[in-house]
Each structure stands twice: as C-alpha cells, then as structure tokens.
C-alpha cells in the first residue's frame, strides 16, 4: 500500500483518527507522518525531537545566511537514499548511513548542540568489522599507560607494556600482508 499523503513511499504506519465521531483509517509513510503531525505518541526523546527541529532550522538558517546561496544548499541530496537537505532539515532524521557523509558539512554544528559540544565517537568499536580499529585503540591505550609508567619511573612494568605494544604492532603487520 502506498502512502496517502505523498503517493511515493510505502505506507509504514497506520492511524485511526476520530473526527466528529467518524472513524477514518489513515495509511502514511514515516516521513509524512512526521511532517503532518500524525505522530502523537509520547516517544522517548519526544520533546527532544521538537527541540531539535527548532534547533535544526535555526542552525541551517544561520548557515544559509552566511553562505547566501540557499538554492545550492537545498539541492544537496544523498546518492544512496535520495533524501534532500531540506527534507532532512524538516524531519530531523537521516535517511541512510551515507547521509552522514552527504550532509557532513552541516553536521558539526548540529552535533555540537545536541551532544554538548562533542563531535567524535569514543566508545565501542564493532568486534568483527572494526578489527584493525580495535587494535589501534588498544595500542593507543597501552601507549598512554607506558607514558604514565615511565613518568613514575616504573621501568620494569613499562618494559612489559612495551612488549605488548610490539606484539600488537607485529600482529597488525602480519594481518596486512
């Protein structure tokens, strides 16, 4: 079934509206549900979302007034999912993982506000696909530890940590070959 609002995307959501005692069934896609205000549930972070859409608009407006090229900004669209910058701006959600690259110029300003000034991830790295990133993270942690031990003149301990770093780096060179 297609969306009753845009007739473009499939209808993912179903709402029953009661107007003057008459029940109407509505089938819409999520983009339209967001835009037309069908979403009525007290979603987790619901108020946050509203705050966010206001914030998006002010952030984008300031970007636009600086660059003075509104049309050019609006044309930007994601090669994987076709979401345009103006759509993203209206609904405050990404269409696909590639959107993060597509709209990357605009993201720092948004992330800074939403995540208290933070821009880069410092947490878990996927075990399988993030293998080499994980090793790098471990090496970085050992290097910090090594510096700390040297500063404290704990040379015996430091030697052990240095061996661990060596081992990891050799292992990584082996993987590359």
């Amino acid at each position: 079934m297609e969306c009753q609002e845009c007739h473009k995307r499939p209808a993912a959501l179903h709402f029953t509206q009661v107007i003057n005692g008459e029940k109407t069934e509505v089938y819409v896609c999520e983009v339209c549900a967001n835009e037309k205000g069908y979403m009525s549930y007290p979603e987790e972070g619901y108020s946050l979302h509203h705050l966010l859409s206001g914030l998006f608009n002010s952030t984008f407006e300031s970007i636009q007034s600086q660059s003075g090229s509104q049309d050019k900004q609006e044309e930007l669209s994601c090669p994987q999912c076709d979401m345009t910058l103006s759509e993203f701006k209206r609904i405050g959600k990404f269409g696909c993982p590639t959107c993060y690259e597509t709209f990357s110029d605009s993201l720092d300003a948004i992330f800074r506000r939403v995540h208290s000034g933070n821009l880069t991830h410092h947490g878990k790295i996927p075990a399988r696909i993030g293998g080499s990133m994980r090793v790098q993270k471990q090496v970085d942690e050992y290097k910090d530890e090594l510096q700390h031990l040297i500063n404290n003149e704990a040379f015996e301990e430091a030697a052990k940590v240095r061996d661990k770093i060596k081992e990891l780096e050799e292992q990584r060179r082996g993987d590359d070959r």
């Binding site: 995307r9 499939p10 983009v31 609904i91 990404f94 993982p97 933070n118 880069t120 991830h121 996927p126």
Partner: protein
Amino acid sequence: MTLQQFMNEAISPWMREEGPDSDIVLSTRIRLARNFAQYSFPIIASENNLQHISTFIQQEYEDQTFQDYRDFLFVPIEDLTPVERRVLVEKHLISPHLAEKNHVSAVLISKNEQVSIMVNEEDHLRLQLYFPGFQLNHALTKVFELDDWLEEKIDYAFDEKRGYLTGCPTNVGTGMRASVMMHLPALSWTKQIKRMIPAINQLGLVVRGIYGEGSEATGNIFQISNQITLGKSEVDIVNDLESVVRELIEHERNARNYMMEQSSTHLEDRIYRSYGVMAYSRIIESKEAAKCLSDVRLGIDLGIIENVSRNILNELMVLTQPGFLQQYAKKTLTPNERDVLRASLIRERVQLET
C-alpha cells in the same frame, strides 16, 4: 513457546528476582541502536529492503539461545491485535512507535523477557536488555556480549569518526540509552525531586515520569537516563549515571527516614488508607491506583506493611493499564468498565497475599 505467555503474565519472569537496591531501584535497562550498513534507515527504506532485514533476523535468530537468554520468539507486529500491541508496550517490550507500524516490523523476545530486539523501528535494530534492581555495569557487560554475538552475522553501519550511525542525530555515536527506573515517593512528597531535576539535566541526564506526563510522575516512578550519546564512552556514560542514581538513592533513603522520625503517624495513616482503598474499593481510576500502589509499596519497604510482596507495585502498575485490562477481559472496555475491573483485580491481588 507462544505469544500467549507474554500476554497473560503482567510481570516478566526476570522481575521476580530481587536485584541490588531494589527498595528504590525497580529495574535497569540498556538499549543499543544498531543499523545494517547496506540499507537505508526504516524511515525511508523500501519495503523490499525492510522485508530482507526482517526475514534475515527471523532466519538467523528465531528460536536461538544466547547465554541465559533462551528461545527467542520472533513476533511480526502485523500479526498482533491492537490490544496485544498495547500489552507489549505496557510491559516495555516494544515501543509505542513500533506498535503503530503495520508491516515488516517485528520483535524478538527471549523467554524470560530480559532481551527484546525491535526490528525496523526507527533503527533497523534496537536491542534492549533489562535487569532487576540497580546493576548498570553488569547490564553493560551483558549488552556488549549480546551486541558482539549479533554482529558476527551483521555488518553494522559504523563510522570511525561518528561511531554507530543511527536514524536520529540524537542517538549517533554509542547508540546507547542507559536508564534506571526508580520509585521515589519521599523525594516527590517533599518536592525535593523538582529541585534536583535541573542539576541532573546539567550533567547530560534526563529525568522522566514513567506513567504520567512530563516530570509529573504517577506512582512516583521516575526514569533517569543519559541524553548524550556522542563523545563519551559507554563506560563513562554509565559511570555518570551510576553516581547520580547513587546520590538519588541516598537522598530518598534520608527523606524516608526523616518522614518516619518526624511524622510516622501521618505516614502510617496515609499508607494504611491506601491499603484500605486497594483492599476494598469497587471503582478505581488509574491515577488513584498508581498513588495507592506507591504508598503501599513504600509501606512494605519501611516495614509498616508486612506479608505483602514487594512485586505488588511492578506487577499491578502493568496489570492495571488499559491494554492489559482488556487483554484480561478478552474484549474492549469503556473507561468506566476498566475502573471496575481494575478495582476487582487489585482486591484479588491484595487478598492473595493475606
């Protein structure tokens, strides 16, 4: 295993166990948002792609067991009646958002209901893991193991700079929402909680009333969770949350002691009145029921009411919600009919104990 088990029991099996600090902390939950790298997010993905994801999850994980989380049941949302969906929302096994979906969405639930994995909600996957009482660190270890187990077969959308990529900018990075559900009657009555909320917000944490609107919590049940997901590691986020919750526990205990010392007769009177309403009323609205449940639970925790199990609050808060009442009655009920059935279920439950 059948869906019927989830529908008939108000209290999830894991809730029957008593966790640390369970006089104040009802439960701990950690949720991770994860997406497949190769597909668009559910908000915009083609039906075909969403179907692929749903079928993949069913094929790979239906009836599977991971550690203590046994026999995953795969439930397509479209197979559920509106009342059944509502019951799953009231048990916190699915979100209200997932309940509104009409196709290619599903949920995977472990037999003990500790794990629920929502499929094609706002993100392709939302993993939730629950523990009784206050056990954030343990929950984090376990949810990481669950995540790694899923990742053996799934290429996650992950970026070195931004972390786990999610549909909403508010979840990017760790994709993690850690939350603790607390019963804070003494902090509510003394209005201390209102004063504490702004300070907690400043630490990047949110306080929310669970069953009521905004911070006006019915049943004095509050959920404390992290708001920021980017730039801090999961361990740091959990540690920050942990220290705030510790603080709240201490304040709540102090406020309870203070009330006991200052006005124990008033307190006892309030608790016994609520007990009386629960034991004898014939019509009760959900708001009044929540208030009485909170009072009686406090009475149990303070040792004023004996021989009633602590679970009465957790259990009746769910059992007396509209969806559950209608599931129990096996038909739709008017609000008035619900109030009558609610009163009778509460009476029955109280009598069961005495």
